[in-house]
């Protein structure tokens, strides 16, 4: 799950980045509204965590632009201005959730998960697929009753395919969900991770779509 974090404060930014990474997200961190706008134009994000008090382009402006361009990526707004009026304004401008500073990191992550769940049309955290039981919050996968340990990369690919059932995911799309801006992309990594997943969870689970990528068919 690739998340865009937009935060101008260094200390808060690197904290949230570390927290989201711990929770298994891939994080891109933009320090101002302008850079965030560029990132949103070029990359597909599962979620945006947006601080409103930004230099250059304000968070609110960025949010309006995002919604005007028709993107419905879930947006969680962070701000130190947390009066009712501020919250209403933010929600009306297209925010999906609101968190006032100082916030609890675990709450932030829980809310991020909830937003993702809602975006994927689920109401419970667990995803069931054939004999798989996947818990994104706990980052656990069970085949029947047997728990299968996964690496973070394998985990990210599985989640990407599971949350986009029936839609083939290209290699580059999968890479995007795996690597943040600073990370080196290993050339044949996707194939390696997919074959590992097949070994761990069953060969039939992930189908190869020729010349496109991979897909998990709808149940």
């Amino acid at each position: 799950m690739r998340v865009l974090l937009v935060e101008d404060d260094d200390l808060i930014g690197c904290g949230i980045e570390a927290g989201l990474r711990q929770a298994g997200f891939t994080v891109d961190w933009a320090r101002d509204g302008h850079k965030a706008g560029l990132a949103l134009d070029t990359t597909v994000y599962a979620l945006v965590v947006l601080d409103l008090g930004l230099p250059r382009v304000s968070g609110m402006e960025l949010l309006k632009r995002l919604r005007d361009s028709g993107k419905d990526v879930p947006v969680l707004v962070l701000t130190a201005r947390s009066t009712v009026l501020d919250r209403v304004g933010g929600l009306e401008a297209g925010a999906d959730d609101y968190l006032g500073k100082p916030f609890d990191l675990t709450e932030l992550i829980a809310r991020c998960r909830a937003l993702l769940r809602r975006a994927q049309g689920r109401s419970v955290e667990q995803i069931r697929y054939l004999d798989l039981t996947v818990n994104p919050a706990a980052q656990t996968v069970e085949v029947g009753t047997r728990r299968v340990p996964l690496t973070s990369r394998e985990w990210a690919i599985l989640l990407q395919l599971l949350t986009n059932q029936g839609i083939p995911q290209s290699r580059s799309r999968l890479e995007e969900s795996l690597y943040g801006w600073q990370e080196e992309i290993e050339s044949n990594a996707i194939e390696v991770h997919v074959s590992n997943l097949r070994k761990k969870l069953g060969a039939k689970l992930i189908k190869t779509v020729r010349n496109i990528g991979y897909v998990m068919e709808k149940e």
Binding site: G15, G19, D32, R81, K101, D104, T106
Partner: protein
């Protein structure tokens, strides 16, 4: 009981009236006394003329009878039935008539008792007052050249003339009745005139702290208008400063939340982190966050104090000396970034200011220059004496500030784009506030070699006269 305008005005007005009436009364009384005196003299002269015409026999008869002047007065005034002003005691006129050679032809016997029988006769005719038997008498002397008689008439001087006191009481009575009525009228008139003041105080008393819009008491009289205007001016100033304070509190709360959020996030990252090195890094960031909020709190307090103290004690001081101290205080952080700091210019130039605050000003400027300057770069601090101004300039050769941000740099809590250093965004607004306190102007521009930022604070130069 406090001073009351109403009571004072009423007293002053009534006292003035009583004084003027008193003066009028006294002068009328004197006038009346004089007129009565003249009239009495005229009557004595008339009596003397009658006596001069009488013969010896009649004079002798008359001498043994009494002449009551009151009778004379009544006969003299035909319609004078009212005896209001008549004297209550008998007033006898005494006379003496002498012949050509000075022998006494006739005279009132009482004159003998008074020892005035052989009184020398004045040469000239006319009225004069003489003392007989210890009492004042009006006398009139008439020399009749035709008969050769000299007539003298005496009458007890009527010092407490009932006529005069009657006139006086007639003048005084209405004023005595009028005075209390006037007092009541004055009292209520003044009260009514002061009503706008009561309305105004009512309007002000009805206010609470949150209602600071201008007082409106309708059409105020010209005397009250300036008071209303002054109060409204005060209210608008109060409102302005209250709004500023509220905005400041809101901004301050907002700014304090940011480092708190950072501390909390970093602490939670450290708690969840299993990797020792990363945990340590997160804990170091917690410490950074605490330092930042401490500095922020310090600066907020300073700004609040600067806002409160309208008047600061000022003394002549050399900015170069203060700058040198600031340089020493920031030496370590400059060395850490390998920044070379120089101090040049007029070392003896003096300004009139408060040394601790100027120290804070220069410390903030240096701190900013080091924080936002280029590692391995240089910073110039210069003190220049230009005409009647002393310019203190701090220049760096760092990345500088975008032209669009330059104007907003002194705004409270504003932090320019893309700077990596942690700051509160209060440093320059503190500088601006201190500069304002000592009549200095602040100018921001390009730094060393058209790079970086230059902050120039221009103080009025201190001279012996100022």
């Amino acid at each position: 009981m406090g001073a009351s305008i109403r009571r004072r005005l009423a007293l002053l007005v009534l006292a003035s009236i009583v004084l003027m009436w008193g003066i009028a009364l006294v002068s009328s009384y004197r006038q009346a006394t004089r007129e009565v005196g003249e009239w009495e003299d005229a009557r004595l002269a008339e009596l003397a003329q009658i006596l001069a015409l009488l013969d010896q026999r009649n004079l002798s008869t008359l001498a043994n009878a009494r002449i009551d002047v009151r009778e004379e007065e009544r006969h003299g005034e035909p319609g004078a039935n009212d005896n209001d002003d008549d004297d209550s005691l008998p007033r006898d006129a005494l006379f003496q008539v002498r012949g050509r050679s000075g022998e006494v032809l006739a005279g009132s016997p009482q004159l003998r008792e008074l020892g005035a029988w052989d009184l020398p006769v004045p040469v000239a005719s006319g009225a004069r007052d003489i003392t007989l038997g210890g009492q004042m008498y009006h006398s009139f002397t008439l020399r009749d050249t035709l008969l050769g008689h000299t007539v003298r008439v005496f009458e007890l001087a009527n010092t407490r003339s009932d006529l005069v006191s009657g006139v006086a009481s007639r003048i005084a009575r209405p004023t005595l009745i009028a005075l209390p009525v006037l007092a009541v009228l004055v009292w209520f008139s003044i009260g009514w005139s002061l009503a706008p003041l009561r309305v105004l105080s009512g309007a002000i008393r009805a206010r609470d702290v949150n209602r600071l819009e201008p007082v409106d008491i309708g059409r105020a009289p010209t005397e009250v208008r300036p008071l209303v205007d002054a109060i409204n001016l005060l209210l608008s100033r109060l409102l302005h400063s209250l709004e500023r304070e509220r905005a400041f509190t809101a901004d301050a709360a907002h700014e304090l939340k940011t480092p708190l959020a950072a501390i909390k996030v970093q602490a939670q990252v450290a708690l969840a982190e299993t990797d020792k090195a990363r945990q340590r890094l997160a804990m170091e960031r917690v410490v950074q966050g605490v330092d930042r909020s401490a500095r922020l709190a310090e600066q907020l307090l300073l700004l609040a104090r600067l806002d409160v103290h309208e008047k600061m004690t000022a003394a002549p001081l050399k900015p170069a000396v203060v700058a040198k101290n600031a340089l020493l205080a920031n030496e370590r952080s400059a060395q850490q970034k390998n920044i070379h700091v120089t101090l040049t210019g007029d070392m003896r130039a003096e300004i009139n200011a408060e040394p601790v605050l100027i120290g804070i000003l220069l410390d903030n400027l240096l701190d900013n220059a080091i924080k936002y300057g280029r590692a391995g770069g240089s910073i110039e601090v210069a003190v220049q004496h230009a005409e009647d101004r002393i310019q203190v300039t701090v220049r760096d050769d760092g990345p500088g500030v975008a032209p669009g941000d330059l104007d907003r740099l002194t705004n409270r809590f504003f932090r320019a784009t893309g700077n990596q250093a942690t700051g509160s965004g209060l440093g320059l607004s503190i500088v601006a506030r201190i500069a304002e306190h000592f009549g200095a102007s602040l100018r921001l521009g390009k730094g060393i070699g058209e790079r970086g930022l230059a902050v120039e604070v221009s103080f009025p130069a201190y001279t012996q006269a100022s």
